[in-house]
């Protein structure tokens, strides 16, 4: 950890990384990845193509290319995990006891796993007609 006091010098402090440190670092790593991934997805689907031209055939055509499926799996994996962990961080600002925090964390983890599985199955199995 680096701290910069007002008088200018830098001090290195060794802190053993715990679970929250790693979660925090992954928030930042995923954020850097999400900027190109999400912005391009929104630009393409909402602005360039537009919702009026999107239907089952469009999704089928898009997922006929393996690269787009990989892209969508990455989107699903990184955005939703970033969002759910973000929600956990926000809720921890308002919940101050260890026990309810743990309950919230487990509920969010479960919700994340179920919805990610639903989305993941759809991307892998593809459009059913």
């Amino acid at each position: 950890m680096t701290t910069v006091p007002e008088h200018g010098y830098t001090r290195q402090v060794k802190v053993k990384p715990n679970y929250e440190t790693i979660a925090w670092q992954w928030m930042r790593y995923s954020a850097v990845l999400l900027i190109p991934l999400v912005w391009f997805h929104v630009l393409l689907q909402d602005v360039i193509v537009g919702v009026h031209r999107i239907d089952l055939d469009y999704v089928q055509l898009r997922w006929a290319t393996l690269g787009w499926r990989v892209y969508d799996v990455l989107l699903l994996g990184f955005t939703f995990a970033h969002g759910m962990n973000g929600l956990r961080q926000v809720l921890n600002d308002y919940i101050h006891n260890e026990k309810p925090r743990r309950v919230v964390a487990w509920v969010l983890l479960l919700g994340w796993a179920v919805i990610t599985a639903i989305g993941g199955i759809a991307i892998i199995a593809g459009v059913r007609k």
Partner: protein, 140 residues
């Protein structure tokens, strides 16, 4: 619940100016995007689980009300990204002293300006699409 009330009144009363506004916007835009994302994963998953429902979901997306909401969503996505970059930059380059209060105030306003500039063209295109497809303008 009282902690939540204290938080809300604290947000309203505390005068942290640009830094506080930026914190609140980051939080609200993040939660907003997460809400939409949850719905979006589930409605897209209907292409496999209930394909006949997908057209119905898309019909809702095509309404004017949802379209305007989507413009707001795009602002959330842009602002959350640009502001996240600002925060990461301030951490990565401590020599630039971006966490100093005067520099921070300027960089928050700069972040808002960039977000609006990136957002306006998308509003133009999406607004054009809504007017074209929902109101028959521009030969739609």
């Amino acid at each position: 619940m009282s902690a939540f009330k204290t938080t809300l009144t604290g947000y309203a009363r505390y005068r942290g100016r640009e830094g506080q506004i930026s914190f609140l916007l980051h939080r609200i835009t993040g939660l907003g995007v997460l809400l939409f994302l949850t719905i979006h994963i589930l409605d897209t998953a209907t292409v496999y689980f209930f394909p006949s429902l997908y057209a119905h979901a898309i019909d809702i997306y095509r309404t004017t009300l949802f379209g305007v909401g989507e413009m707001g969503l795009i602002f959330c996505v842009i602002f959350h990204g640009v502001n996240g970059l600002r925060i990461a930059f301030a951490d990565w380059f401590p020599n630039m002293k971006l966490w100093r209060i005067t520099t921070e105030r300027k960089s928050v306003l700069f972040t808002l300006a960039i977000s609006v500039v990136l957002w306006l063209p998308t509003v133009g295109v999406m607004g054009f699409n809504i007017l074209k497809h929902n109101y028959g303008l521009f030969g739609g």
